[in-house]
C-alpha cells in the first residue's frame, strides 16, 4: 500500500478527484468511495485531505460546486468538472501515461546498456 504522505500520491489525488467527477456531478463521499472501490483499496485516501483538495480545486476554477439532494434525499454538495478542469484532466492523464511508460521501460530493461 502506498503511503498518503508520498509526493506521488499527493499530486495524484487531484487527478483522481477530477477523474471521479468526469462522468457527472458527485458529492465528496461518492468521490471517496469511487476512489476506494476503483483502486481496490490499494490507495488509502485519507478523507479530510480529500475535502481540502475539493475546495482547493474549486478555488482554482477546475471544479464547480452546487447543492443538490442525494439519493437518500439528503442535502449534499455536488462537484462537477468545469471546462478548465476537463482540459486540465486530459493533460494530466496523458502526462501520467507518458511517465508510466518511461518508468516501466526503465524498470523492465534487460540489459545494462541501452540499445
Amino acid at each position: 500500500m502506498l503511503s498518503p504522505e508520498s509526493g506521488l500520491v499527493r499530486g495524484t489525488l487531484d487527478v483522481l478527484i477530477l477523474k471521479a467527477v468526469s462522468w457527472g456531478p458527485r458529492h465528496g463521499y461518492a468521490v471517496a468511495e469511487w476512489i476506494r472501490v476503483v483502486t481496490d483499496d490499494q490507495l488509502l485516501v485519507e478523507e479530510g485531505p480529500l475535502y481540502t483538495a475539493l475546495h482547493r480545486l474549486e478555488r482554482r476554477g477546475l471544479l464547480a460546486a452546487e447543492w443538490g439532494y442525494s439519493d437518500n434525499n439528503r442535502k449534499a454538495r455536488y462537484y462537477q468538472l468545469s471546462r478548465a478542469g476537463r482540459s486540465y484532466l486530459r493533460a494530466e492523464v496523458s502526462g501520467w501515461e507518458r511517465y508510466v511508460q518511461a518508468v516501466t521501460k526503465a524498470l523492465t530493461a534487460v540489459s545494462p546498456n541501452p540499445a
Partner: protein
C-alpha cells in the same frame, strides 16, 4: 441530482455550508460502517477517525472558499463596470451629433482652462527647481531683473556692487549666504578661436557663491567658488547651462576645461548646470554665468563695479533656520539703508537713504520681469475661461437633461424589470464620466495647441517666451480635476432626475395631455440652466466689450507726437567705445547726414528714446514751490538733441525748441512738458524762469511742450523735462537714439537710414530701426492679447447660450405641439404663435440678464486695473453686450418658433 434553491448568500454563510458538507460525509460513512456491523457510537467514532482532524479541514476549506468568493466579487465589479461602459458607449454612438457637440464643447472648455492654467502655473505658481526654494529671499524688486540704472539718489529696487560687498558679510546673521545676480547684455562668444563665428548667448553675472546659495549642484565639472568674485578680473571662468551645452557643444563630454572667447577675452568652461535648472529668471532660459568680478573685463567701456550709483544687482539669500521672511525683511531693510547712508555724500542723500523703500520678498518662484506684467491679464483670463467652463457645463447638463427626459420611458422600463436605482444612477454617471474622459483627453490635446498659440500671440511678432508650458503634473492634475467637477456638475442632476421616475407615472405620462401645462413646468431645471448661462454670458460679453473699448482708446489716444511718421533708431555706440564728446559728435553727425535723405522731414536724437524702454528721473526744485511730499520733487527727464520738438512732431505751447546753440558753454536751458509746467506754475507761462534739476544744475526754462506719451500709452502722461544733449547739465549721456520723422510711410525709409548710418561708421552696431507705430503696438500687446481672447470667449459664450436656448425652446415646442395645433385649429394666427414662443424665450433671457448685470458690475471692478479710458460700468459696453445677447437669443428662438407656427392642426392631433 435535484438542485437546491440556495437560501444563504455571501461570506457569512461559508462556514455553515462547509460544516453541512462535512457532516453529510461523516453521516454517510457512519451509516456504511453500521451496515457492516458496528454499533451507532462505534461507527461515528470510526468515521471521525478515518476523516482526520475535522476542525482543521473545515478551517482550510473555509479559507479556500472565502478566497474564491473574494475574487469572484472583484470579477463581478469589473464585469459591471465593463457592462456600464459598453452600454454608455452604445448610448453615445446612438446620438453621435449630440455626443460630438458635448465632447467638443467640453474639449474647448477644458482645453482653454488647461492652457491658461499652464501659463498661470509657469509664470505665477511654479517654484524654482532648486534645493528648498522656500528658504530663498530676494532683495530688490524681482520685476526689475534685467534692469540697470544710474542714479545719484539712493534707491533699492536694484543694488550696486559696492552695496553687495558691504552687505555680504553683515547678512550672515540671518542668511546662510547672500548671492548677487545682475544683467549683462552684449555677450559675444566664440568657441572656435578668434576667427570663429560669434554668437550671443544669454548670460548673467553672478557672485561666486551664487550656485552654492541656490543649492544647484554641477552636472559636470564644478560651479564657482566663493573666492571667484573677490579677485576683480582674476577669474576668467564660465559655467554653462545644460541646454546650451547640448545645443552649442552637442553635449561634448570633454567640455570642462575648454577655452572660449567672450568679448575677446579668454574664459575656461568649468562646469555645466543640471538640466532641471533653467536659471533664476522665470520666462528666460540662460546660457552662461560669469563671475561678477569679470564685469570690467567683459565691458571695458562701462566698468561699474566701483560705481555706487550703478544700480543693477538683485541679491538672493537663503534664510537661516528659524529666521522668518518677516525677520529677514526687517534685517535687510536696516542693513541696506545703513549701507546706502554710509555711501551718501550729502546730508539730504543720507536722509533719503534712511527712508528708501527696500523690497524684500520670497525667492521661491524666482525673478521675473513678466510676472508683474502678466499677473492681472492671466488672472482675468483664468476667470474668463472658468466662466466659459461653467457655461459649457450648464449647456452639457442641459443636453444630457433633455436626453434623460427622452429616456424616461427606458428608465422606467429598467426600473420595472428590477434594476436598482443605484445601478441606474451609476449607469448615467458612467455615461457622463465617459463623456468627461473623452472631453478631457481631447481638451489636453487642445490645450497644447492653445498655450503654444497664446505664447505666440503674446509675443506679437517678437521672441516667444521660453516658458515651460509642457503638460506637467500640475496641468494634468488640473485637467483631471476639471473633468471630475464637470462630471459631477452635469452628470448628477440628470441622473438623479431620471432615476426619480415613478414607474407608474412615467408609463402613463407618455400619453401627454393635449392642452398640457405651460412651457415652464415641464423642464424647470433646463430653464434655470439657460437663465444662468445667459447671466454668465453677460459677464463675458460685457467684459470683452469693456476690454475692446479700452484697447481702442489706447490705440487712438493722443500721443502728442507724429506717431505714424517716426522711426526710432537704437544704436549700441557704447560697444564701439563712443562716450562723452565723441558720442555727442557721432549723434550730431548722424543727425546731419540723416536729414539729407530726401524722404526725411526732420531728425533729432535723445538718450532714452521713444518707446524703447529706458527712463531717467531726478530731483527738481522750483523756487517758490513748497513740495508737500517726496514725489513732488521728482521728475522724469530726457536729454534731447537740437530740433527735438520739430524732429518728433511734438507741439510747442510756449517758447522755443532746442537749437544747435544750446551747447556746452552757453546758458543752460530746459524744456518742460505741459504736466510739469501745470504742476509747478499753474496756467501761466514759465518761460524765462529758472529751476534747479538734479542736485546742483540751474537751468532756464525756454519752452513748454504738449505732453508726449513717450514710454507708455497706458496711464496719464508724467511730469517730464528735457535738457540739451549738447549741454548735458546732468552729466554726459551714455546712449544715443536717433528719431527720424519721415514724409511718407517710415517703413520704406528703413533701408536708407541703415545705409546712411554705415557711411558714418561702418562698424556701429545697430540694435534696431523700428517705426514708432510698431513700438507702440508692442507696448500694448498684453492689452491686445487680453481683448482678443476675451472677445473669443465672449463669442463662444454667446454661441453656447444660443445653442442652449435653441435646444430648450425646441424641446418646449415639441412638447406643446398638440396644444399649439389646437390653438391653430381654433384660429390662432401664425404671428401670434411665433410671438408666444419668442415671448417665452425672451422671458428666460430677461431673467438671465437681470441676474447678470449686478454680477457683471461686480466682475468688471476686478478688471478695472486693465481698463484705460473706460469706466467699469461703461454704459456703451453694457448696451452692446445686452443687444448682442438679445439678438442671439431671438435668432436662436426664432427657428423653433417658426416651426411651431407651421404645426398643422391635424398632424398635431394625430401625433397623440
Amino acid at each position: 441530482m435535484r438542485p437546491v434553491i440556495r437560501t444563504r448568500f455571501g461570506r457569512r454563510a461559508v462556514p455553515r455550508e462547509v460544516e453541512d458538507e462535512l457532516a453529510f460525509h461523516l453521516e454517510m460513512r457512519a451509516r456504511q460502517l453500521m451496515e457492516s456491523g458496528l454499533t451507532h457510537e462505534a461507527a461515528i467514532e470510526e468515521a471521525r477517525r478515518r476523516f482526520g482532524d475535522v476542525g482543521e479541514v473545515r478551517d482550510t476549506c473555509v479559507t479556500y472558499d472565502e478566497e474564491r468568493l473574494r475574487s469572484m466579487n472583484r470579477l463581478s465589479i469589473f464585469h459591471d463596470i465593463r457592462q456600464d461602459l459598453v452600454y454608455a458607449g452604445r448610448m453615445l454612438r446612438r446620438a453621435p451629433a449630440v455626443s460630438l457637440v458635448v465632447i467638443l464643447t467640453l474639449a474647448l472648455g477644458i482645453g482653454a482652462n488647461t492652457a491658461i492654467f499652464s501659463l498661470v502655473n509657469a509664470v505665477l505658481l511654479k517654484k524654482l527647481d532648486v534645493n528648498a526654494p522656500d528658504e530663498l529671499v530676494v532683495v530688490g524688486d524681482p520685476a526689475r531683473v534685467g534692469g540697470m540704472g544710474f542714479d545719484s539718489n539712493p534707491r533699492a529696487d536694484l543694488n550696486s556692487y559696492t552695496t553687495y560687498r558691504a552687505l555680504a558679510d553683515q547678512a550672515r546673521g540671518w542668511v546662510s549666504g547672500l548671492a548677487a545676480t545682475g544683467r549683462v547684455d552684449r555677450l559675444e562668444l566664440r568657441a572656435d578661436g578668434a576667427r570663429g563665428e560669434a554668437e550671443r548667448p544669454r548670460g548673467r553675472m553672478v557672485s561666486g557663491n551664487y550656485f552654492e546659495v541656490l543649492g544647484v549642484r554641477p552636472f559636470l565639472g564644478r560651479t564657482f567658488n566663493a573666492a571667484e568674485d573677490d579677485v576683480v578680473g582674476g577669474a576668467p571662468v564660465v559655467v554653462i547651462s545644460h541646454g546650451y551645452w547640448q545645443r552649442r557643444f552637442a553635449g561634448d563630454s570633454s567640455i570642462v576645461g575648454r577655452e572660449v572667447l567672450i568679448n575677446e577675452a579668454r574664459y575656461t568652461i568649468v562646469g555645466v548646470t543640471p538640466p532641471s535648472f533653467m536659471g533664476e529668471i522665470v520666462g528666460q532660459s540662460l546660457d552662461v554665468w560669469i563671475p561678477l568680478g569679470m564685469q570690467a573685463v567683459l565691458l571695458p567701456n562701462q566698468p561699474i563695479l566701483d560705481d555706487t550709483q550703478a544700480y543693477w544687482l538683485l541679491f538672493i539669500g537663503r534664510r537661516l533656520p528659524g529666521v522668518s521672511l518677516e525677520q529677514a525683511r526687517s534685517a535687510f531693510t536696516d542693513a541696506v539703508r545703513g549701507t546706502l547712508a554710509a555711501q551718501a555724500t550729502t546730508s539730504a542723500l543720507v536722509d533719503q537713504a534712511r527712508t528708501v523703500e527696500v523690497r524684500v520678498s520670497s525667492g521661491a518662484r524666482g525673478l521675473s520681469r513678466v510676472r508683474n506684467t502678466y499677473r492681472a491679464p492671466l488672472l482675468i483670463l483664468m476667470a474668463g475661461v472658468g466662466l466659459l467652463l461653467l457655461i459649457i457645463c450648464a449647456n452639457v447638463a442641459n443636453i444630457l437633461m433633455a436626453r434623460a427626459v427622452a429616456r424616461t420611458r427606458e428608465m422606467s422600463v429598467r426600473l420595472a424589470i428590477g434594476a436598482g436605482r443605484g445601478r441606474l444612477i451609476r449607469q448615467l454617471l458612467t455615461e457622463s464620466l465617459l463623456l468627461a474622459a473623452l472631453g478631457s483627453a481631447a481638451g489636453l490635446v487642445v490645450s497644447g495647441w492653445m498655450s503654444r498659440f497664446l505664447l505666440v500671440l503674446a509675443a506679437d511678432g517678437g521672441t516667444v517666451l521660453p516658458l515651460d508650458t509642457g503638460v506637467g503634473v500640475a496641468a494634468l492634475g488640473f485637467t483631471s480635476a476639471l473633468g471630475l467637477v464637470a462630471v459631477v456638475a452635469f452628470g448628477l442632476m440628470p441622473a438623479l432626475r431620471a432615476s426619480r421616475v415613478e414607474v407608474a407615472t412615467a408609463m402613463r405620462a407618455s400619453g401627454k395631455g393635449l392642452t398640457g401645462s405651460g412651457m415652464g413646468e415641464r423642464n424647470p431645471l433646463g430653464r434655470l440652466l439657460i437663465a444662468s448661462q445667459v447671466a454668465l454670458s453677460v459677464i463675458l460679453i460685457a467684459g470683452a466689450t469693456l476690454l475692446v473699448r479700452s484697447l481702442q482708446h489706447l490705440q487712438h489716444v493722443d500721443t502728442g507726437i507724429a506717431r505714424d511718421r517716426l522711426l526710432v533708431v537704437d544704436l549700441d555706440a557704447n560697444a564701439r567705445g563712443y562716450s562723452e564728446t565723441r558720442l555727442t559728435t557721432l549723434a550730431s553727425q548722424l543727425q546731419v547726414r540723416l536729414a539729407q535723405v530726401p524722404e526725411v522731414a526732420a531728425v533729432s536724437f535723445t538718450e532714452n528714446g521713444i518707446f524703447i524702454g529706458t527712463e531717467s528721473a531726478t530731483n527738481v526744485a522750483v523756487p517758490g514751490y513748497e513740495p508737500r511730499q517726496q514725489s513732488d520733487s521728482i521728475s522724469f527727464y530726457d536729454q534731447v538733441g537740437p530740433g527735438f520738438v520739430n524732429g518728433t512732431g511734438a507741439r510747442l505751447i510756449h517758447g522755443r525748441d532746442f537749437t544747435e546753440a544750446d551747447r556746452e558753454g552757453t546758458a543752460r536751458v530746459v524744456l518742460l512738458n505741459e504736466s510739469f509746467s501745470t504742476h509747478y506754475f499753474g496756467n501761466e507761462s514759465p518761460v524765462g524762469r529758472t529751476i534747479r534739476v538734479g542736485d546742483s544744475a540751474y537751468v532756464e526754462i525756454v519752452g513748454v511742450v504738449a505732453d508726449v506719451k513717450d514710454q507708455s500709452l497706458v496711464g496719464p502722461a508724467r511730469r517730464r523735462f528735457y535738457v540739451s544733449y549738447l549741454q548735458h547739465p546732468l552729466g554726459s549721456a551714455s546712449i544715443v537714439r536717433m528719431i527720424v520723422r519721415t514724409q511718407g510711410d517710415p517703413v520704406r525709409v528703413i533701408p536708407t537710414v541703415r545705409h546712411v548710418i554705415t557711411t558714418v561708421d561702418a562698424d556701429l552696431p545697430i540694435r534696431s530701426v523700428a517705426p514708432l507705430s510698431r513700438l507702440m503696438r508692442q507696448s500694448i500687446s498684453e492689452e491686445r492679447l487680453l481683448a482678443t481672447l476675451a472677445t473669443v470667449f465672449g463669442i463662444a459664450a454667446l454661441l453656447l447660450a444660443a445653442i442652449g436656448l435653441y435646444g430648450v425652446m425646441s424641446y418646449a415646442v415639441s412638447r406643446r405641439a398638440g396644444e399649439i395645433g389646437l390653438r391653430v385649429a381654433l384660429g390662432a394666427q401664425r404671428g401670434a404663435v411665433i410671438r408666444m414662443v419668442l415671448r417665452d424665450a425672451l422671458l428666460l433671457v430677461g431673467i438671465g440678464i437681470v441676474a447678470g448685470i449686478p454680477l457683471t458690475l461686480g466682475a468688471s471692478r476686478i478688471i478695472r486695473s486693465q481698463l484705460h479710458g473706460v469706466g467699469p460700468a461703461d454704459p456703451v459696453a453694457f448696451v452692446v453686450a445686452l443687444g448682442v445677447l438679445a439678438l442671439g437669443a431671438v435668432t436662436a428662438a426664432l427657428v423653433p418658433a417658426v416651426r411651431a407656427s407651421r404645426v398643422a392642426p391635424v398632424v398635431a392631433l394625430r401625433a397623440e
